[in-house]
């Protein structure tokens, strides 16, 4: 009876220690996240990269697919949100024009973006 008690205590301690190690101290890091699981600033960078890549390759379907990896439904929402917030923050044309142009190409165009669309025209 006493041995069973010691064994149970040992198992409990072992499991507790394993949970501490496996989830807190040495958690396994698997490279399997999606862009939606990126930290917020990296998500914004991801959106900016999509717009910059679209400037070069002009592949709208691919840009759309990339945005959908962030948010499958209403995939233009994060793009519009970031663009408008950065417009408010007064970011540079070099950042905002590609974003506005991609947003426009995806069929969304809001009043704050208009000046950037005009400035982006060749």
């Amino acid at each position: 009876m006493k041995r069973l008690l010691f064994f149970s205590v040992g198992v409990a301690l072992g499991i507790g220690l394993a949970l501490l190690i496996g989830w807190e101290l040495l958690p396994v890091q698997r490279a399997n996240s999606s862009p939606a699981m990126l930290r917020r600033d990296y998500q914004e960078e991801y959106i900016r990269l999509i717009a910059a890549a679209y400037q070069v390759d002009g592949d709208l379907a691919l840009a759309q697919q990339r945005l959908a990896a962030l948010q499958p439904y209403a995939f233009t929402v994060p793009l519009v949100e970031v663009t408008e917030r950065w417009i408010q923050q007064g970011k540079s044309d070099a950042i905002l024009i590609p974003l506005a142009q991609l947003t426009h190409a995806l069929g969304v165009s809001t009043p704050p973006m208009q000046p950037y669309l005009q400035r982006g025209q060749p």
Binding site: G14, A18, V28, Q29, A31, L49, A53, V56, A69
Partner: protein
């Protein structure tokens, strides 16, 4: 067995079972992650977009931050592939140069990188076998330097971006062969080759290599055209092609359009036996490594 022995056995079993669960069955799900923890497909896409963004924006610091902690072995093939795709798609030269610059930094060793960074795989020094010797010249760079990028930052030692801006040493070329064809739209194709001697098992062997990144000039009475060898790697690294018109006398130069031309060419009609058209020619030009 004593009680403490039973306790340790239980502890070990519990620890093993717990680690199997926490590391294998139910690892923690991460939110607020960063690019190196993206799934391989997304990670590759991140690298590709970063390369394209650098080609468009030219922001070196930001590019380095975007690629931070990503393994170079993973970056290298993606940048190489992106450059190849850009070359195939006929993207502007500035974009190709930046992609090549990025590739060179990460150790990409492809012909496209050599061409668009302005590196030439083999740079021979002047040698004059049986060629018309060019008159002594003061070599001046033929292109304007690139404007500085937006954000100056410490960079690795890279060669000049533009293949055009790299002054090449004067080299004596001689015509090895000419091939004539009859075509409706005549052209002159030039293939530059370097002959050099290598020693294999104490035996000397002559090897010929294509010469990319060299300027070929075609001058006529009231005009000039220029091409760089190797801009179509799928054809060959030493090739350059010109469309020509009948009625002109063309003078062919390598590197600098001055002095004695390598050849003087007139576009002639095909002979009677052949079909109607104009004579196009492929010139193989050779130089030797000293």
């Amino acid at each position: 067995m004593k009680s403490w022995g039973v306790l340790i056995i239980g502890l070990v079993l519990g620890l093993a079972a717990g680690l199997v669960y926490t590391w294998g069955i139910s690892p923690p799900e991460y939110y607020d992650t960063y690019p190196p923890l993206l799934d391989k497909t997304y990670r590759s896409d991140w690298i590709k977009m970063t390369a394209l963004a650098y080609s468009a924006e030219g922001n070196w610091n930001r590019t380095q931050l975007r690629l931070q902690d990503l393994p170079e072995a993973e970056i290298r093939p993606i940048v190489a592939e992106t450059l190849e795709q850009a070359v195939t798609a006929g993207r502007p030269i500035a974009i190709l140069q930046r992609l090549a610059e990025l590739g060179a930094f990460y150790g990409v060793d492809t012909p496209a990188v050599h061409i668009y960074t302005g590196e030439v795989a083999v740079v021979p020094t002047p040698a004059a076998p049986s060629a018309p010797s060019p008159t002594p010249l003061t070599v001046a760079p033929t292109a304007t330097p690139n404007p500085p990028t937006a954000i100056p930052s410490p960079r690795p030692t890279l060669t000049a971006i533009s293949p055009i801006s790299t002054p090449q040493p004067l080299t004596a070329f001689y015509i090895v062969s000419q091939t004539f064809t009859c075509e409706a739209q005549p052209h002159i194709t030039v293939s530059l080759l370097l002959s050099h001697t290598i020693t294999v098992r104490r035996r000397e062997q002559v090897e010929t290599l294509p010469l990319p990144g060299r300027e070929i000039w075609l001058l006529w009475e009231d005009g000039a055209d220029r091409a760089i060898t190797g801009f179509k790697p799928e054809i060959g690294l030493g090739f350059a092609d010109f469309a020509v018109e009948p009625g002109h006398v063309y003078r062919l130069y390598i590197d600098i359009p001055q002095g004695v031309p390598i050849s003087t060419i007139q576009v002639e009609p095909c002979t009677v036996e052949e079909r109607e058209g104009w004579v196009s020619r492929l010139l193989l030009l050779m130089t030797q490594e000293p």
